[in-house]
């Protein structure tokens, strides 16, 4: 972005303005565009789509009244929450209670600085990009603990503590899975990691070797747990903790926690896409050569679809799997995922000594395996759907 601004300054677009002012305006504008034109609608539409997807999976209808197919439901929800009374319990610690949504929201929004939407569509390609994402998302824990403690409510405190313990535990497998890719790419920059891969699936780090293949699933599972998503949503388990750390929150403050949760889903998908699925890489077609605009759009769409696929999978998992118990959650992390992730890490590092030809053969074989798994999966799903009782073919009037 700096280069682009410099170009504009050189071209005399901002004659008479000091360089710093132009930079500041540019940065503010970029941040504002990302927030209001991308993050806010995205989180909103995700909240609507999630309810629609569950509804279809559970033979219900879901919100379909506001706008076409109910797509504007999120705006209605936002306005409703804006008009709700803001209740701060007398027993609560008022300062921290009001501060917590700010911290959670900030921690989630800052991740968007380094998300590479396209070859040049990135706010700032920090040279420590992926580590930066791990760092800012770990700030969310502080916000959640703050919310849980400040509410002075037993449900909130228990939810906050559980959530914090869960997030920090799953940060280890997630961090180690990221580390695997950093070893392969040799850089921490998000664009650098994407450039280390190719547009073709067999050039993705997902299929680089068996260990990264396992690492992807480790990352995705750990990221779901870090985002407090089902089946790991015990911090806000409705049946036991009312609503966890958000029990005492109402109106806008409540909304911001969920804004962050839904937006965070996309961050999970985007990071997984960047690390394992080749990011915005598109095939080098002839039509892209002459029009950089078309190329940028193609890259953006590729990245968005890849990332959103994982958001959809997260919804799917939420509609499918029951919640795990707190002790199962902890033993899953420390007894299975942490050792497994370290084994994968050492395996990946050892694999880097394999000569280039061997690596190419392995990625081809892994790609074949991936295709086979996908085909078997869809055959099984098709079989189950055919076997299901006709009552399940509920076709509501939509």
């Amino acid at each position: 972005m700096q280069a682009y601004l410099d170009q504009l300054i050189q071209g005399g677009a901002f004659a008479g303005m000091p360089r710093e002012v132009v930079y500041a305006i540019g940065m503010l504008l970029a941040a504002f565009i990302v927030l209001s034109a991308f993050v806010a609608p995205l989180a909103g539409v995700t909240s609507w789509l999630e309810r629609r997807v569950w509804a279809r999976m559970q033979s219900r209808v879901g919100p379909n009244r506001v706008g076409p197919q109910g797509i504007l439901q999120w705006l209605a929800d936002g306005i409703k929450n804006l008009l709700k009374e803001d209740i701060i319990p007398t027993a609560a610690d008022k300062k921290l209670f009001s501060l917590a949504p700010y911290i959670v929201f900030m921690g989630f929004l800052c991740a968007f600085v380094v998300i590479p939407f396209g070859g040049h569509l990135i706010v700032a390609d920090l040279n420590i990009g992926i580590l930066y994402i791990l760092a800012v998302t770990s700030l969310v824990v502080v916000g959640i603990l703050m919310a849980g403690w400040a509410s002075n409510n037993k449900w909130s405190l228990l939810g906050g503590m559980r959530s914090a313990a869960q997030i920090i535990s799953y940060e280890i497998p997630a961090g180690v899975s990221v580390l695997m890719i950093v070893f392969l790419a040799g850089t921490l920059s998000m664009q650098g990691i994407i450039k280390g891969q190719g547009w073709a699936p067999w050039d993705w780090y997902l299929f680089h070797n068996p260990f990264t293949f396992a690492g992807f699933f480790l990352y995705f599972t750990a990221a779901l747990a870090e985002g407090n998503r089902t089946p790991f949503d015990i911090p806000e388990a409705e049946s036991e903790l009312v609503a966890g750390y958000v029990t005492e929150y109402s109106g806008m403050r409540f909304l911001f926690f969920f804004f962050a949760e839904w937006g965070n889903l996309y961050v999970i998908g985007a990071v997984a896409t960047t690390l394992f699925l080749g990011g915005w890489q598109v095939p080098p077609l002839a039509i892209f050569e002459n029009s950089p605009m078309l190329l940028a759009v193609a890259q953006f769409v590729t990245f968005f679809l890849k990332a959103y696929l994982w958001v959809f999978v997260a919804m799917w998992i939420r509609a499918t799997l029951p919640r795990v118990r707190v002790d199962q959650l902890m033993s899953l992390c420390w007894k299975y995922m942490v050792p497994l992730s370290f084994i994968c890490l050492l395996g990946t590092v050892a694999f880097m000594f394999v000569p280039a030809d061997g690596q190419r053969i392995t990625s081809a074989a892994m790609f074949g395996l991936g295709v086979a798994i996908t085909i078997i999966f869809f055959l099984r799903v098709g079989f189950q759907i055919r076997q299901a009782k006709p009552e399940l073919y509920f076709k509501p009037h939509i």
Partner: protein
């Protein structure tokens, strides 16, 4: 005074304010939150010194991880309402503060330039430089650090066992 210096003084001022907040806050959880702010500001200071890697690790390890540990300890001990002023602790605190100030006097009064200053280039605090020095000059400390961490785990497990 140029822009960078103004920025430094603003940051340093905020850092001092938040550190004082940590010390003078009556509520321990509020102190912990002020500490998060202070650590965050230190991370920004590292960034202005061209050391992004150290700055981000500061946030990841201190503001993220260690603060969670602090908060867990605070919630385990629950010192709210227990706090009493004790003359004795004031004495100890003052003594420690004086010692620290005494140790800082030579640094503050030293007007000479460092003997072999390192030029902070763009890459100075980046991951590559850090790794190179970890693998060349500091291999042994690097491995010893892991043993230290191992001892820390063992210690924690042993201490937690004493729980009645």
């Amino acid at each position: 005074m140029n822009g960078a210096q103004v920025g430094f003084f603003i940051l340093a001022g905020l850092l001092i304010v938040s550190s004082l907040w940590v010390v003078f806050q009556r509520n321990v959880v509020h102190s912990a939150m002020a500490l998060v702010a202070a650590l965050f500001l230190v991370a920004i200071l590292f960034l202005t010194l061209n050391a992004p890697m150290v700055g981000v690790l500061q946030i990841l390890v201190y503001a993220g991880a260690i603060m969670v540990l602090f908060l867990f300890v605070i919630m385990f001990l629950n010192p709210i309402g227990l706090e009493q002023r004790r003359r004795l602790w004031w004495g100890f605190g003052a003594l420690a503060g004086l010692l620290l100030a005494g140790a800082l006097v030579p640094v503050l009064t030293n007007g000479d330039a460092p003997r072999d200053p390192v030029v902070a280039t763009e890459l100075f605090g980046g991951p590559e430089e850090l790794a190179r020095s970890l693998f060349t000059d500091f291999v042994l400390p690097f491995e010893i650090a892991s043993i230290l961490l191992l001892v820390a785990i063992v210690g924690a497990v042993v201490l937690a066992k004493r729980e009645p």
